[in-house]
């Protein structure tokens, strides 16, 4: 099974995106999905285009064409709707095959 590549996106690529990344790694492990998660800053996004399967973003106005599905990661910080977001990520990665 291929390893899926995910980036988490915030303003600095340091704080919130790292917390989102930790939760995604744990949540995907629990679902048996092999992922590599990399937190990045908004300005680093351009360099990732074409290399990623999914973007989890907590920044507004993602208007760049990244050719990958984008999931809103804010529930990973608030805890409200967290499992639903993890399910959405899993669904978008595997296309429901799992």
């Amino acid at each position: 099974m291929a390893k899926y590549r995910i980036i988490t996106l915030c303003g600095s690529g340091i704080a919130s995106s790292t917390i989102c990344a930790q939760k995604i790694r744990k949540g995907m492990a629990e679902r048996g999905i092999d992922v590599e998660v990399k937190p990045i800053a908004f300005r680093e996004l351009q360099g990732e285009i074409g290399k990623i399967d999914l973007v989890v973003s907590i920044t507004p106005g993602l208007k760049v064409d990244i050719n990958a599905p984008v999931v809103n990661g804010v529930p990973l910080l608030t805890g409200i709707g967290e499992q639903a977001v993890l399910d959405e990520i899993a669904q978008k990665l595997t296309g429901g095959k799992q």
Binding site: S16, T59, V74, L77, G79
Partner: protein, 156 residues
Amino acid sequence: MGSILFDSDMVVVGQPFPDPEAVIADLAGRLAARGCVGPGFLEAVKDRETRFPTGLPTQPVGVAIPHTDPEYCLRPGLAVAVLPQPVPWRAMGTEQDLVDVRVVFLLALPAQKHVNFLSQLVQLFQSPDALTQLISLSDPAAVADFVRCRVNLSLT
């Protein structure tokens, strides 16, 4: 190793503010007075907030975590506001949505090694019970004790 500077002087409780800018200015002043941040920090936080807003729709009240890039921060520090009335704050990840915020954590993080601290902070405000308790507190010392009990401020 050191720790994140935080005590009752870094807390404002019960004071109404008209808007996010006023809250951020008060808290940034506390961080500056203790040497946590240098010139340009306040403007940098406000600027970042316009591009990447930090209001979070937690329950039962919203929380905001304004911050900026490490270059404006001299030593790790935390300042906290517990607001008597909600301040409408732009929600993270949105262009226009607003969250009614009652608790604000202004972070001065000079290095990139504070994820453990942030994880604990996230855990704190993901707990409706903890937030309910926090907004019931009426003096800075009580708020400082409350946060210190729940978040490990030492940097290891």
